[in-house]
Amino acid sequence: MIYFDNGASSHPKPQCVVKAVGDWLRKNASNPGRSGHRLSMEAAELVYNTRVALGDLFGVEKPENVILVPNATYALNTVLLGLFEKGDHIITTDLEHNSVLRPLWHLQSKGVEVSVIKVDFEDDEKTIEKMMRSIRSKTKAIVCTQCSNICGRILPIERIAERKPKDVLLIVDGSQGAGTIPINMVESGVDYYCAPSHKGLLGPQGGGLILINNRIPRPLIYGGTGTESLNPEQPLALPEHLESGTLPTAICAGMLAAANYIKDLGRKKIHSHKRALTDYAYDELRAVSGVELYMYPYASKCLGVIPLNMNGKHSGDTVEYLDQKGICTRGGIHCAPLFHLRMGTQSRGMVRISFGCFNNDREVDQLVRALKNLK
């Protein structure tokens, strides 16, 4: 079986991640940060070490600024719904996933103004210019993806951070970039970075993170934190302010193992591997008769994701055909509606080929052969 659906969830996981989750569940299923006995303390220490390891990966100086949440959607909702209110203005792009867009549309229904700028596939400078021109006195934030989940287009996060006014927050959806595109929270000027565990970070599903470099958002949920229990108010200190309820310790064990795995392997190496694979796949796919490669002219600015269609077919039919050949891809809209509206593919969707760090050229060759045989 060939797995080209890493944009949805990376597979397989490194063996050390699988082992860490299983080992932890066997060894200690106690509650972290709730009790004072040794097992609970060991669990709390594991959670803390997870924050430290993830913080190291992203240049976060204070482990308490690494907030552990169930997934990237939860992370983005926490930041977006916790910072803005009626009268505020937010800028975003047409490459965003619904994990950004739907909270923004919700905010819009409550009186927040939202501007969507069209990303220039060719020229980053034009995209940045559009963002800067959209800024007005009530603009509170720019919210954008680090790397598109549907076309792999990388956005110039650091340059956006450099150019924006200081009082305009930069919120980054790192769902497709985390674990592959290096980013340092202090040097980059990013204010909030949200990512899931289970994609490029190679961890289990059920984990995600918010990296905070600015003021603390209002909590999305309220409840037990294991501290200040007689106080009706949510504790103000991070991370507990944003982490009500029991944390998934076994998931944290997997995230910790995955963070160490990525650190050992090196994100530059992972990045180079995906770069080479993306370039190779584009070169080979060009030779396939009837293939529609939407982002080919901008291939060098895209990473790890190739959207395509075949012979005017519905994406679902091509995905089903590839599945029969033992190749896992994803069709449809990929929760990125504005991109499909822009490309005119909202009816038939696109076939998304998304690479992980364990894919190789031979698998690309098999994909190309399968597509060449598609009638």
């Binding site: 004072g36 803390y48 482990p63 308490e64 200040e228 200190a237 991370p239």
Partner: protein, 61 residues
């Protein structure tokens, strides 16, 4: 002697900080006026130094 800290996260952070400075500390949990809290248990001879280190890093409750 005990020094109350902000949360379990700060307890772990404080313990590692003190460890780096050669001070051994144990994490404990008990309840007080505002409910449950974590603390670091430190020997008398290291208490003043530990308190200063923890205060500098804003770890204390």
């Amino acid at each position: 002697m005990e020094l109350p800290v902000k949360s379990a996260t700060y307890a772990m952070k404080g313990r590692q900080l003190l460890h780096r400075h050669g001070i051994r500390a144990y994490v404990g949990k008990r309840s007080g006026e505002s409910g449950c809290y974590y603390y670091l248990n430190i020997s008398d001879k290291n208490f003043a130094a530990a308190e200063q280190l923890l205060r500098n890093e804003e770890i204390l409750k």
